[in-house]
């Protein structure tokens, strides 16, 4: 097991991601942030808070669960817990930045894009992740990457966050 990021580094990386999201499209009027359950949610709240402090404007921030859009529901033995989706604002013609902790196969992001499109037609959907570990199975990439971490497929990247796990860190584990 190796520690890839600590609390301070996570904070710095999220701060950089917030700046990059702003820099790319300086108009925040249409910007909304949506976190993917589960650890994308606190990350989305943190990034949203950072942008609010920089711009003095509160962003619409939503929660999205991809369970019902998974492509492997006919292959798993037990259905996963359906967590809540909460996007209580219109996303039509908005710039939506999806937030997740780890980008891996890209299947979660594919499902998340499908969920968003059932809520409306955003002007643009972008993706920001804390860690990109590679091994894509779909033609998907992130617009904003906190840290690129090349991994072997038998390794696992585990993101721990204060709000869910009681501490902030990113670990590299061996599977099994």
């Amino acid at each position: 097991m190796a520690k890839l990021m600590d609390k301070e580094e996570i904070r710095r990386v999220l701060s950089r991601l917030s700046h990059q999201i702003l820099e790319k499209d300086k108009e925040v009027k249409d910007l909304v942030i949506v976190g993917i359950q589960r650890r994308g949610v606190p990350l989305a709240e943190r990034i949203s808070g950072m942008i609010e402090r920089m711009e003095g404007k509160k962003l619409d921030t939503g929660i999205l669960d991809i369970t019902l859009y998974r492509d492997d529901l006919t292959q798993i033995a037990h259905q996963p817990i359906v967590r809540n989706t909460h996007i209580p604002f219109p996303i039509d013609n908005k710039r939506v930045v999806l937030i997740d902790d780890v980008l891996y196969t890209g299947r979660t992001v594919r499902a998340a894009i499908d969920v968003l499109i059932d809520f409306g037609r955003p002007r643009k959907i972008e993706l920001a992740v804390l860690v990109d570990r590679g091994h894509r199975e779909l033609p998907i990439r992130a617009d904003f990457v906190g840290k690129n971490i090349p991994t072997a497929s038998e390794e696992m990247v585990e993101v721990k966050l204060e709000e869910v796990d009681g501490r902030d860190e990113v670990l590299l584990l061996k599977r099994g």
Binding site: T67, L68, L73, T74, I76, A77, Q79, V82, D118
Partner: protein, 306 residues
């Protein structure tokens, strides 16, 4: 937790944890019904057969809508237009439908235990949509969900179920469910419509709504089955109205924030007057919308796996 059951046959055999898990899952499905596109791809490629051997509007449409919202393919079967009319047995009919590669049966049948028979004989999930006067589990789940949505709890609530208890599968399923979650359940009706030994289900019996309604948080009115009028359970409908209809005076004995529920279809002016059915304490239409969400949750838990 993992929901490991193959079928949903009744509330009696569910644990408290399983009931709470279904209710928790329902929340996520309730939100889908508020979206611009009220449909998710979850059961794409699965086929659900609705087998209804009794007339039903609400329950059948609610199941069908839940199935369609989950993207399942739906087959509707009604007893009158089927080959059962030609003498085929139920099991043969169902096994023939199964041979066409379907994934689940939703069954409403007048004989208690029929869903249990199918569940034993068939490898696919069976959902009981009402078996005689025995159980109607999804109705109880949607009722309990509706109560929890408004009251934020079930434990400690006083619930009065009023009407024809004897013939009511809704009453039985609710008694099981509400008691397991810690509510105090009372039943009330004319003595001819209170079944013997019902107190063994842990309920208190009342013969006058004036007694049953005192300080209750919830009142569930059951439909008076006019088609049973000739069976001698009631002297007349007008006498029933006189003694059991939910008047304003009677309702004023309940807690001020009482919720009025009815599983439908309502006989306006019999179980309760229109003013109460449409009034601010009534959650009758909440029950209907929550019914779709509960059925989506149940279908998801039984079908969204290998």
């Amino acid at each position: 937790m993992n929901f490991k059951r193959k079928d949903l046959l009744g509330i009696e055999d569910l644990s408290k944890e399983e009931i709470l898990f279904i209710l928790e899952t329902t929340k996520s499905f309730r939100e889908i019904l508020e979206r611009p596109i009220k449909k998710v791809p979850t059961l794409r490629g699965r086929t659900v057969v609705n087998l209804f051997f009794e007339v039903s509007t609400r329950t059948r449409m609610s199941f069908e809508l839940a199935e369609k919202r989950l993207n399942a393919d739906v087959l509707n079967f009604s007893a009158t237009s089927s080959s059962l009319a030609k003498g085929e047995t139920l099991l043969d009919t169902v096994k023939n439908i199964l041979a066409m590669k379907v994934d689940c049966f939703v069954l409403r049948h007048p004989v208690p235990g029929t869903p249990h028979l199918l569940a034993r004989e068939l490898p696919v999930p069976i959902i009981n949509a009402g078996d005689g006067a025995h159980e109607h589990p999804t109705q109880a789940l949607l009722d309990i969900y509706t109560i929890q949505e408004r009251k934020k709890r079930i434990e400690g609530l006083k619930v009065a179920i009023i009407g024809d208890i004897t013939h009511s599968r809704v009453a039985r399923s609710n008694i099981w469910g509400l008691s397991k979650l810690g509510a105090e359940v009372r039943v009330c009706g004319p003595p001819t419509l209170i079944p013997p030994l019902i107190e063994e289900m842990g309920v208190e019996i009342f013969y006058l709504p004036e007694d049953a309604l005192r300080e209750v948080d919830i009142v569930m009115m059951l439909r008076i089955q006019k088609e049973r009028q000739d069976e001698g359970f009631l002297p007349s409908i007008s006498e029933y109205i006189e003694f059991f209809s939910l008047t304003e005076d009677r309702l004023s004995l309940a807690r001020e924030d009482v919720l009025v529920m009815h599983p439908g279809p309502v006989n306006r002016g019999v179980e309760l007057p229109a003013r109460i059915a449409d009034g601010k304490r009534s959650v009758i239409l909440d029950q209907v919308v929550n019914g779709v969400a509960v059925r989506m949750a149940v279908l998801y838990l039984l079908l969204a796996k290998r």
